[in-house]
């Protein structure tokens, strides 16, 4: 399978990428690691006329401590996340989840920014950033703005990013010493989660769901129940509330809702919530 023809332009900086997006309009797409976009293009489900290659933008692939937060450059590869000493100390959940994305080859190329900007409800990293209560820094022609992760995912493969904006940084609070859990249910090692759950317990409890609807989701009913003093088992019963999970070869919507309740219970228990 070969993608439909397109033009490729290379950006050397975030500013240049934004300017190229403005120049080429809505038919342009950003190319980072390409591990979400290229498969879609090979299937001709995406046929952008221009790709803006940001793979050479150097200053967007670091993991920095900034006060109470961690700032992760959008071009940071999954492999970098899963081996990061800073994350091991201050956000081990993000490190662990990154290490469960795809397989080693995918993790050598895929980037956290690409995974979030793709907005796939079946992806693992969006749920980690949601459960952590993170935010996303995007750069457009008028400068930078910050979007809370809860406001970022707007529909199936749709985000709050405007066509001329570039995701430059993911910010998550340091959760040093916090309880956490990632439950990923699948049938084959390198597959997408049939259902996944990320829980972070750090005074308050964040719980997010993978593959339980059109977007990556926060399990808000579960979070409220935990806040109100419910046990893990009681709170987990609310895991499927308000969700409309897909049905496919792997699982019916009803089975996914069952899995969500079981996996949330396990995640809350493991996180110590």
């Amino acid at each position: 399978m070969i993608p439909a023809a397109f033009d490729l332009v290379r950006a050397e900086s975030a500013e240049e990428a934004v300017s190229l997006l403005g120049e080429h309009g809505e038919d342009a797409k950003l190319l980072a690691g390409g591990h979400s976009l290229l498969p879609l293009m090979k299937l001709r489900l995406a046929t952008p006329s221009v790709l803006v290659d940001i793979g050479r933008v150097r200053d967007l692939s670091s993991i920095r401590e900034e006060g109470d937060e961690l700032a992760v450059g959008a071009l940071t590869r999954h492999r970098h996340l899963e081996t990061s000493v800073v994350l091991a100390t201050h956000a081990p959940v993000l490190r662990h989840v990154a290490g469960k994305v795809g397989d080693p080859q995918v993790r050598h190329r895929g980037t956290i920014g690409g995974s979030l900007a793709h907005g796939d409800p079946a992806s693992d990293l969006p749920a980690a950033v949601l459960a952590l209560g993170g935010s996303l820094v995007v750069q457009g022609p008028a400068g930078r703005r910050t979007i809370a992760a809860t406001d970022f995912f707007t529909g199936f493969l749709e985000t709050a990013l405007r066509p001329d904006e570039l995701l430059v940084e993911i910010r998550v609070p340091k959760v040093t010493g916090a309880g956490w859990s990632f439950q990923k249910f699948n049938r084959r090692a390198m597959d997408w989660a049939i259902v996944g759950v990320v829980a972070v317990h750090n005074g308050t409890t964040g719980v997010a769901l993978v593959n339980m609807g059109a977007t990556p989701l926060r399990a808000t009913a579960v979070e409220a129940a935990v806040r109100g003093g419910s046990s893990a088992a009681e709170a987990a019963e609310l895991a499927a509330e308000g969700t409309e999970p897909p049905g496919d070869l792997n699982a019916s919507p009803e089975f996914r809702q069952h899995l969500a309740r079981v996996l949330v219970r396990r995640a809350l228990t493991e996180a110590g919530a």
């Binding site: 070969i2 023809a5 995918v106 050598h108």
Partner: protein, 170 residues
Amino acid sequence: MMLASSAEGSPTSEGCTVKVALSVNGTKQEHDVEARVLLVHYLREQCGLTGTNVGCDTSSCGACTVLVDGESVKSCTMLAAQADGCEITTIEGLASADGTLHPMQQAFHELHGLQCGFCTPGMVMAAISLLEEHPSPTEADVRDGLEGNLCRCTGYHNIVAAVLAAAGKS
């Protein structure tokens, strides 16, 4: 280069060509390629290195695994244009000029880490990358580290044994 059939929807234009300059198995290569050319097709058709196989063509099976700057990558999911400036190693680049096999190839040979052989180049490249990152893996590490490579003969037992042997743990 092979073009997609019109049944899939003809592109409105041929797209641009880009210059790529990279090292493949230590040899400098420079070509003008269509932007949409995948690395695996570039290696097979422009460089004539057909040891890298196209298997599933959907980033699942790992048959097309090569090393990009020393790390395993599925070359069906990377544009040749993205490899500009990189060092690529394919299965052809492993043995010495005198034909001495790479230790991983030798281990696959001695322990018969293959059945039909189709997944073998990708398995060997993924295994080399794995040992680079985990020089002393357990059997579980090897099985986990090869999760991105499928052997449809289900010959995993000897493949895992070969990787452990190459790591000096047989």
